[in-house]
């Protein structure tokens, strides 16, 4: 006899009932209206009862003008983590959640600028970090609400911490794709997301 899976969210691990795939509208909007930034982010999660395995994949490209030159950073990033739903026994499985992520990125950054040295005069610098890598930790919180059929919307606030970059021999990284400015040891991020949920139907046992 097949064991019945509860439709609501309860404590403890359960067999997944659906996979949500979505995107961050804020990043798309920023990308559309910003002259120096382009990027996108795809978000996904799968439920195991009140626990959700979450993953984000994104692209982050920025080229900015400095007072004495240009700086650019381009890369892709991946975040993996777990969310815990604190809205229990909701018939629609709406969520108020907190969780953690670990982010990794591989990126190229380049700086070109003019400077002046005592006795040697003005000079130009053009340096790149190709294939630099970085990681960081995030504490996240937010909500997900079912809007219509399998359409969901939600917010995610991200408190990004502990940025650490490697393989950047030419200069210390300034902006890490997916994280932000490296000199900020605490960095805030915010997503406004839309999702489509694909139900997972468990084959009943004979």
């Amino acid at each position: 006899m097949g064991q019945e899976i509860p439709a609501d969210t309860t404590r403890g691990l359960r067999w997944p009932t659906g996979i949500r795939v979505g995107t961050d509208l804020i990043m798309l909007g920023t990308s559309a209206f910003s002259a120096d930034f382009s990027g996108w982010e795809v978000n996904g999660d799968v439920d195991f009862g009140r626990y959700y395995l979450a993953a984000d994949v994104g692209s982050w490209n920025r080229e900015q003008t400095m007072v004495n030159g240009l700086y650019s950073t381009n890369g892709n990033y991946l975040r993996l983590g777990i969310d815990v739903n604190f809205l229990l026994k909701d018939p629609d499985r709406n969520m108020i959640f907190f969780g953690m992520r670990y982010g990794r990125t591989m990126y190229d950054e380049r700086v070109t600028y003019s400077d002046s040295a005592n006795y040697y005069g003005p000079y130009q610098v053009d340096e790149s970090n190709l294939g630099a890598k970085a990681g960081w930790v995030e504490l996240v919180g937010g909500l997900r609400v079912k809007i219509w059929k399998e359409l969901w919307m939600g917010y995610t606030a991200r408190m990004k911490l502990l940025p650490h970059a490697t393989d950047n021999p030419s200069f210390e990284s300034y902006e890490i794709p997916g994280y932000g400015l490296t000199f900020k040891n605490v960095y805030w991020g915010f997503n406004y997301q839309v999702f489509w949920r694909f139900p997972v139907k468990r084959r009943s046992s004979q």
Binding site: M66, V111, N118, M159
Partner: protein
């Protein structure tokens, strides 16, 4: 509990407060200090100081206990020759000239770090601070007896 709340507020606010300092302290001048056997500043009558590769002669006919000597931003090694009190001494050092992006408003500057003495004819020498800075008191100390 009050401390936990206070700590949480501090962590949250720290995301807004840590802006970069726009006043550049980067400089290509390495600060050399002359000291005696007792490790005290030693005023020295300098005939001249020469930077190998630079035609300009520095500190000609002055009495000083410290000198600021230039590093080339496109190189990673420097040699300085000191002529004083009927003596000729020399040091060679290596360094890392690296860009540092401060912010879009402040721009990028070259920092000179990892100063290492590779050769010295002085009685004793030591690297005190391995990065040049307008705030640094001395980078390299040279003992003259």
């Amino acid at each position: 509990m009050k401390f936990a709340r206070f700590a949480l507020v501090l962590v949250v606010l720290s995301g807004c407060l840590n802006k970069p300092d726009c006043a550049p302290t980067a400089t290509n001048l390495v600060k050399i200090g002359f000291v005696n056997a007792a490790n005290q500043a030693r005023p020295t009558a300098i005939d001249s100081i020469r930077v190998v590769g630079l035609t300009e002669v520095l500190y000609k006919g002055v009495t000083i206990s410290a000198a600021e000597l230039p590093l080339r931003p496109d190189l990673s090694q420097a040699e300085f020759e000191f002529f004083f009190e009927q003596r000729a001494e020399k040091i060679a050092l290596t360094y890392n000239a690296q860009p540092q992006v401060i912010s879009m408003e402040c721009g990028a500057y070259t920092i000179f770090k990892d100063l290492t003495l590779t050769e010295s004819t002085f009685v004793a020498d030591s690297v005190i601070t391995s990065q040049t800075s307008t705030n640094a008191t001395v980078n390299i100390q040279l003992r003259i007896e």
